[in-house]
């Protein structure tokens, strides 16, 4: 609240003996400090009863009292002062929220001289105090005051107040009203400014939204382009190699994945096949996947680590162990992102059914023997690629029988979590593949994917799911 004009400027009255009745220690301290600074002597009581005792002990020159207090309210305290012959002419200021018209009548009834509405500025109160001290109440007038009966809100009050007292109260009430009105006007102006600013902000938001839509559209285009590049790492949908039946499924959990797989002819007799799983998801992982993919190409080139031109002009096929070791060398542990990948890479000699393979931290492949018998897991030791610098990877050999099926997959299959965080697991996976052994290869791959997706309901898989099935049909 601003200092009301005409009150603060009233003559300098210093060294006044002030008594404060206030139950809030904090409020009292603030007021006391301000009054002391203005050169007044201040006493403080935390309730009306104590305040009355202090007033009787030494007559103050002015009293400032809160209304709501435990043990004698401001009204009771005021009434006691105003009916005490020794104290009755001490000016009494009530601190009120003036939330109800009845407060004014109650104040009059109690004999208060002035109101200051809460919350108040100490300076404003100081101005009121000085104005009140400048016009002391005449003892004679007090004595001559008539008793009036006032009805308000269904209650009758016996008000005995002098003319000046009534005038003081009315003026202070009116000042309060004027001051509140000014505050309202200011608040209204501020509101109007805020509304203009809100409208401006709204316009800016609209334009920002348009900008975001534009950027978003750009990102979607970029992602689509990137996803297309990733698709180029995968086999053709109708991939077909002599002596083999092939089926594969690949479901990235984001638009960009860290998984990829491929199967292709390396030379006249050998086929290369792999599943790679780069840790993490999204752009960094997919970029690494694309980079890894450049090296895993069956075309003789500078970048291929699978095949190279021999001295005799023939194609030389690298062993799986060489491929894993070389990849680990090329992808020196990335200190910035901590990205790494797991891989199972195999070279299948189609005429003989001999599969050499190496793995780097990758789940074991599953064989479903054509002769019957339980599904077998064939894994290989080896840390994930780009995890431990300069290690040598070993390789394993698996002799296939005609009609044998092998399945390579990413950990998105066995590690798929259901609602209770339970993993799908190797056993269910093997059982699912086993159940599909009499049907077509593509059917068994499809069934496994469906089983994994069903396992993860309702949210669906949180990881990329990649499955590559191969049947040897010499």
């Amino acid at each position: 609240m601003a200092t009301a004009p005409g009150t603060a400027a009233t003559g300098p009255t210093a060294g006044v003996d002030v008594l404060i009745a206030e139950d809030s220690r904090m409020q009292a301290k603030i007021l006391q400090k301000r009054l002391t600074e203005a050169g007044h002597t201040v006493r403080w009581a935390e309730n009306g009863q104590l305040a009355l005792e202090m007033a009787r002990e030494r007559r103050p020159e002015i009293i400032i009292s809160d209304i709501e207090m435990p043990v004698a309210t401001g009204y009771e305290f005021c009434k006691a002062v105003k009916t005490d012959p020794a104290l009755r002419t001490v000016p009494f200021i009530l601190l009120s929220t003036l939330s109800d018209p009845i407060d004014i009548i109650r104040g009059l009834d109690a004999g208060a001289d002035n109101y200051v509405t809460k919350p108040y500025e100490p300076d404003y109160l100081l101005g009121r105090m000085q104005a009140l001290l400048a016009t002391p109440l005449a003892e004679s007038e007090e004595a001559a005051a008539a008793t009036l009966e006032v009805s308000l809100a269904g209650q009758t009050f016996q008000v005995k107040a002098g003319r000046q007292q009534v005038l003081n109260l009315l003026v202070s009430t009116f000042e309060n009203a004027v001051s509140k009105n000014q505050e309202l006007v200011v608040a209204n102006q501020e509101l109007s400014v805020a509304r203009d600013s809100l409208q401006k902000t709204n316009e800016e938001l609209t334009s920002l939204n348009a900008e975001i839509s534009r950027i978003n559209a750009q990102m979607v285009r970029d992602l689509t382009a990137a996803a297309k590049v990733q698709r180029s790492l995968l086999p053709a949908d109708d991939v077909s190699l002599p002596g083999l039946e092939i089926a594969w499924r690949y479901v990235p959990c984001h638009s960009l994945a860290g998984d990829f797989l491929n199967i292709f002819q390396l030379d006249e007799e050998r086929v290369g096949l792999f599943v790679v799983d780069v840790s993490g998801h999204g752009v960094p992982s997919s970029l690494m996947a694309v980079t890894v993919g450049r090296f895993l190409t069956p075309k003789v080139s500078d970048s291929s680590i699978l095949v190279r031109q021999g001295a005799d002009g023939k194609v030389v096929v690298a062993t799986p162990a060489e491929v894993a070791t070389q990849l680990n060398h090329l992808f020196q542990a990335d200190e910035f992102s901590g990205l790494y990948f797991t891989m199972l890479y195999g070279v299948l000699h189609v005429p003989s059914g001999r599969l050499d393979y190496a793995a780097g931290g990758h789940p074991a492949l599953v064989r479903i023997p054509a002769a019957g018998g339980a599904p077998e897991f064939h894994g290989a030791d080896g840390f994930p690629i780009a995890f431990v610098p300069e290690v040598e990877y070993g390789q394993q050999t698996l002799q296939l029988e005609p009609g044998d099926r092998i399945y390579l997959y990413s950990d998105g299959v066995p590690e798929a979590m259901d609602q209770d965080q339970e993993a799908y697991g190797d056993e269910k996976m093997a059982a699912c593949l086993d159940a599909g052994r009499r049907g077509p290869l593509a059917g068994s791959v499809g069934s496994l994917l469906e089983a994994v997706e069903a396992w993860c309901q309702p949210k669906g898989p949180l990881d990329d799911v990649t499955i590559l099935g191969v049947e040897w049909k010499p």
Partner: protein, 118 residues
């Protein structure tokens, strides 16, 4: 010493004790925070001995392994030792699947792990 959001830290002699506070270590943002906090903790130490306690962790992504690999390489290159403890079976499975149970020094609980530092 506990000024971190993702890890709770302590010291036993010269050994840094690190407890991961999160139940789930999943997204990249969280991994970045853990990486930063570990770097702050170990920044000045050369070849420190570190014990990572996973007893609060119920689930973690495979990307967390990458972070552990970075840490392992950094600590080993400085002649320090990195050990881990309190790993639940479900999470141990992630280590096993990637053969990393053979790379990392993994112990049942903190007292068992601490005893192996001597």
């Amino acid at each position: 010493m506990d000024q971190f959001r993702r890890i709770q830290t302590g010291k036993k002699g010269d050994i840094f004790l690190v407890l991961f506070k999160d139940k789930k270590i999943l997204d990249d943002t969280m991994l970045d925070e853990i990486r930063t906090e570990l770097a702050q903790l170990l920044g000045k130490a050369s070849g420190p001995d570190v014990l990572l306690d996973f007893s609060q962790v119920e689930f973690m992504s495979s990307a967390m392994l990458g972070l552990l690999g970075q840490l392992h390489r950094k600590i080993s290159s400085g002649q320090g030792r990195l050990k881990m403890c309190g790993i639940r079976p479900e999470i141990f499975q992630v280590f096993k699947l990637t053969n990393l149970d053979k790379l990392f020094s993994i112990h049942k609980d903190a007292p068992t792990a601490l005893a192996t530092f001597t």
